[in-house]
Symmetry: C2
Subunit: 233 residues, 2 copies
DNA sequence: ACAAATTGGAGAGCAGTGCTCTTGCATATG
DNA sequence: CATATGCAAGAGCACTGCTCTCCAATTTGT
C-alpha cells in the first residue's frame, strides 16, 4: 500500500505525514516528553538518521506537532460553531466551549503540548501563533455577534476602570467591532477561564473540590456568559 | 564549611537538602525536563550512582521538588495574607493574588512543574495534595471572612442553578462556613482564573492580545472580587 | 569493647537518547 | 547522457537513567 511509485516531491510529503502521524500515535501512549525520534524511525522501519532529512531537530518535529494541534483544535471549534449558527449566544458559547473541552479530553497529550508548560528555551515561531488564534477567534465571534445590533447594556455590577493601552487594540477592533471596552477585556477572562478549567481538570487540580466536572463546567460557562453577553440575552 | 563532623542522620538530611537545592539551581537555568541526575551529582562533586541512595529514581526527586514548590508558594501566600489582615476583602484578594503571580514569575520553572503539564504516567501522591491545598485555603479564607457577619447579598445577575453534588461538600463546609452555595462555586472560578491568568501570562498566550499585563491583572482580580464578594463590599 | 550489620560512595557497565558524518544508490535535471 | 541532488544506511560521539558490585566508614547489638 505504501510501495506505490511516487515522485520525489510526493514521497517527501508522504514521509513527513507518516512521521507526524507516527509521532502522534506514540505521543498518545506516553506523552510528548517521552517522544523519541529513534522510536518513530523504528516504528516506520527506518533508520534513525533518516528522520533528520525531514526534521533537522527534535524541536522542529515538536513545532510541527504543535501547529497541527492548534489547527486541529481550531477546526474542531469552527465545526462546532457552524453547527449552531441558529442558536442564541449563550447556547453557542456552551457548544463551542464544550467542543474545546471534549477535544482536550480526546487528545490530552496534544493539549498538554500546546497549553501546558512550554518547552524551556523554545520560542514559538510565528507559524504557531496564527494557528493558535483560530480557536480564540471563534470565541470572540460569539461575543461580537451577540453585540451586533443595538441598545444592549453591559452587565456591570461595579464600575471597573479600563485603562487605555491595557489590551492590544489592533486585533480587537477588527474582530469585535461595536463591543464595549469592558466586554472586550472580559472576553479575555472568558477565554482564559475556559482553558484554565480544562487545564485544571486534565491536570488533576480539581480533585478534592469539584465532584461533577460536567455540571460544574456548565455552571462556569453560564457565569462566563453572564460576564460578556449583553443584558438582553 | 561542609566538612564538619556530623552524625549519619544529620549527614543524610544535609545531603538530601543539597541535592534538592542543587536541582533547583539547575532547574532555574534550563527547566525541569532538562534536569539530569548526573549533572546534579557532578555539580556536588559526587558520582552519579550515589544520588540513588537518596532518591531511588528521578521521579522521586521531582516529587520532592513538587512538594517543596507547593509549600513555598503556599507559605508565600500565607505571608502575604498575614500582611493584610487589616484590609478589606477586595484589597486582600489583590494582595494575595499578586503574591501568587509574583512567586510564579520569580520561579517560572517551579511554577511550570506544579501547574503545567503533569509528567505523563505519574500520579501525584497524597503528600503533594496536602501541600497544594495551602494556597487555595488562603483564597478561600478571604471569601469566607468577607461573608462572616450578616445580611449581605449575592451579586447574581442571572440566577444560576446550583446542582447538588456538583462540588465536594466536605472541604467547603469547614473552610467556608456561612457562604452561599453559588459563591462557593464561584470561588473555584476565582481560583482557576488566577492560575489560568498566570499560566497564560507565563506560557506566552497573552502575546498579541494583552499589552499591559500588570493593569490587566488588576482588572481581572477586580472582576473576580465582584464575583465572590458580598454586595456591601 | 568488639563483632556484626547497615550505610553511602566509587566505578564499571547496559540500554537508551539526540545528533553528526560518511558512504552508496536512486532519482531528477542540465 | 552526464551531472547534480535527495535520501537511506550505518558507524560513532556524548549524553541520559539506572543497576550492580566492591569497599570503607559508621552504627548497632551483645
Amino acid at each position: 500500500m505504501s510501495d506505490v511509485r511516487r515522485s520525489r516531491a510526493e514521497a517527501r510529503v508522504h514521509q513527513i505525514e507518516t512521521i507526524k502521524s507516527t509521532s502522534r500515535r506514540l505521543m498518545a501512549k506516553s506523552g510528548a516528553p517521552a517522544l523519541s525520534l529513534r522510536e518513530v524511525a523504528r516504528e516506520m522501519g527506518l533508520v534513525s538518521s533518516a528522520i533528520y532529512r525531514y526534521f533537522p531537530t527534535r524541536d522542529d518535529l515538536l513545532t510541527a506537532l504543535i501547529v497541527d494541534a492548534y489547527n486541529d483544535l481550531g477546526a474542531s471549534a469552527e465545526r462546532a460553531m457552524a453547527r449552531c449558527v441558529e442558536g442564541d449566544p449563550r447556547r453557542r458559547l456552551h457548544v463551542v466551549a464544550g467542543s474545546i473541552r471534549r477535544w482536550a479530553k480526546r487528545n490530552p497529550h496534544e493539549y498538554a503540548l500546546i497549553y501546558g508548560s512550554p518547552i524551556p528555551g523554545y520560542d514559538a515561531p510565528e507559524l504557531t501563533i496564527a494557528a493558535a488564534t483560530r480557536v480564540t477567534l471563534v470565541l470572540a465571534t460569539i461575543v461580537a455577534d451577540a453585540w451586533r445590533g443595538a441598545e444592549k447594556g453591559v452587565r456591570a455590577v461595579v464600575d471597573v476602570p479600563i485603562h487605555d493601552g491595557m489590551l492590544e487594540r489592533r486585533g480587537f477592533e477588527r474582530v469585535m467591532p461595536g463591543v464595549p471596552d469592558v466586554t472586550r477585556a472580559r472576553a479575555i477572562i472568558v477565554w482564559s477561564q475556559i482553558f484554565g478549567f480544562v487545564s485544571f481538570e486534565l491536570f488533576g487540580h480539581y480533585k478534592g473540590s469539584v465532584r461533577n466536572t460536567n455540571r460544574y463546567f456548565d455552571f462556569v460557562v453560564d457565569e462566563m456568559a453572564n460576564l460578556v453577553l449583553p443584558t438582553s440575552v
